[in-house]
Amino acid sequence: MSGQSTYEPKTGFTKWLDARMPIVRLAHDSFVDFPTPKNLNYWYTFGGILAVCLVIQIVTGVVLAMHYVASTDAAFASVERIMRDVEYGWLIRYIHSNGASMFFLAVYLHMFRGLYYGSYKEPRELLWILGMVIYFLMMATAFMGYVLPWGQMSYHGASVITNLLGAIPLVGEGIKTYLQGGPAIGDATLNRFFSLHYLLPFVIAGVVILHIWALHVTGNNNPTGVSVKNVKADTVPFTPYYTVKDGFAIILFLIMFAVFVFYFPNVLGHADNYIEANPLQTPTHIVPEWYLLPFYAILRAVTFDIGPIEAKLLGVIAMFGSILVLFALPWLDTSKVRSMRYRPLAQQCFLGFVIACVVLGFAGANNPDDLVFKFGADKLAMSYTDANGGAAVRTFTEFAEANSFLATLPSSAAGALEVSASGFKWLWVAQIAGAYYFAFFFILLPLLGVIEKPKARPASIADSVHGKKKTTAAAVAATSPGPQTTGSLKPAE
């Protein structure tokens, strides 16, 4: 994509430097002169936004690490000390804690955009995979970061996740012990999580460089999915065109970020995490942060054994599978058309996929046995020991009936009355949405490429944008019957 470098060193020093280490040339070719399709919309600004997020997290994180104490006795108090006594510590910590949510919000929109416009397809498979590596590292980093304040959710969340890994056959127990630094979560766990939480962002930064490198080899995809054919007609230089467009989007994003930091700093967290960790007291609901909820829902959706594999292990496999499948995406989608703009069926399946992800998030936040809605009024269930000594349950609608039945039972039957509500469980919601999640990748995407008849695509990026404002003879001739996105365009025949 990038052709000959147009950088010309002007001063003596830059000439000297360019002959020895062309770092200015690299920056010039990557961020100034880089030819970028002229039709990128605002969905393409999340890459720049994510770079800003990473820098914000690293800068605030380094400062927080100067004041944080990684010890089970002192961690909670040290975080509150940052909030109270460190100069602007409250600001730095709220930026960091809300920054994690903003980072994930942006990465999800960035990923959905890549999915919609087919940015993972040939020749950008490696670009997509590097992005998935970054996303996976982000999840690990965020999980370990959430443990550091040593609140109730920190401790019990860490406990749930490390125990999960223990479910893996043969190596599970070993991995769990290495991760916890001992037989249980304690000081050793906190210290290694702190160490890794400081390390991984720099690994992410390294992979981000590879991600940008891969991007600059293949060039940007664009909303039409049509490759750049004529650099002069189809592209504009990154600077100033996209520096200003990305800059504008970054500022809008920062405004939303600031609204959270200054006015709702705790709304994305959980109140229980302001209670210091207590291993002996388990919170009623253990939930991860919102950005991991869909995967948590998939984990808990598997409640059945398949053959010799137990439900717990299957849940772990499903959860990791739901992330790993994204790595295989470039080869699961069989369609030759990149952009879903020209794939009417895929468009609808994609919409379903976005809905499934959001629904999984809600299912992850709720207890699987809680009801989304009820079928009719609650009933009463009496469990007792029947005449043969077996356990029996009988349901009643009226309390008086239950009472008179209880009176007929011998005292040894030990009747106990409970409310029995029947309705649609969150578990089923998670199972349906989870099934769609996997079906999207393993059935719909491979199948659609074969059965779907895509709409006509513009011949080039230049044609697609020219068609918007006025019809040029060339554009019409090249794209007859014309790009579907431009309703006003009349084919001149």
Binding site: Y42, K245, I255, F399
Partner: protein, 286 residues
Amino acid sequence: MRLVSALTACVAAASFIAIAQPASAEGKVLHPHGPHEGWEFEGPFGTFDQNALQRGYKVYREVCASCHGMKLLSFRNLGQKGAPFFDEAYPDENSNPKVKQIASEYMVAAFDEETGDPIQVAATTVTAFPSPYANEAAARGSNGGALPPDLSVITKARHGGASYIYSLLTGYVSPPAGLTVSPGLYYNPFFPGDTKPQWAGDPREAPAGGFLAMAPPLREGLVVFDDGTASTVEQMSADVATFLAWAGEPKAETRRMMGFSVIGYLLIMAGLTYASYRRIWRNIQH
């Protein structure tokens, strides 16, 4: 406009994640509410009323502090900007005479510099609020096995925040007929819990709330306010909840004030950048 759809998606996603937070307790519980007139310190323009903070501190000091510690606070915090006893004449909170006097009312453990013998000395402004019990076992021992939680960040650690504190303190009612309350426990419809096991009637109609080991701590006239405010249970509850909300996040006022300048600055930047964007792209079809 494409920008609008991208922005809407961003805001929609943000609000989704804000409401996707899980529900709280197991059994039914009444939704916490603040006083009728609402909280002065909530909302983007919210500020703490210093008189309310001082009254609230007095309620804490004379009532709550006999069982509940606030180990994350030091006496000097009471004299910082925005705090109950902040005085413009003393920008350094450690020289504030009121704060010094409050601290000196407490005796804390120390040791004799020459002999090393343990002694008791008056607390200073830099001393942390002393805990009412020597350790957790002592705290549980004096409270029938229940541990009175530390109140330093209590408004951030409970769903409903200050409104929860207010509702709990004003919400004690005599248990409805049919509800057996075990000795040493008290019924409160705002306390998360499960009343079904103690309920004689239809479990579907078990009352909301739960049982806690804290007896109703406030009664009319219990604390005499220095500014002459009538000390009704509602007044004392509202004041102590205000004090606890301040204590949970002493920098909340500063934070909200700063938010205006930051967002204002960003809005101006956004306007200028958008104008530049329109100008730079004016000759490019895209």
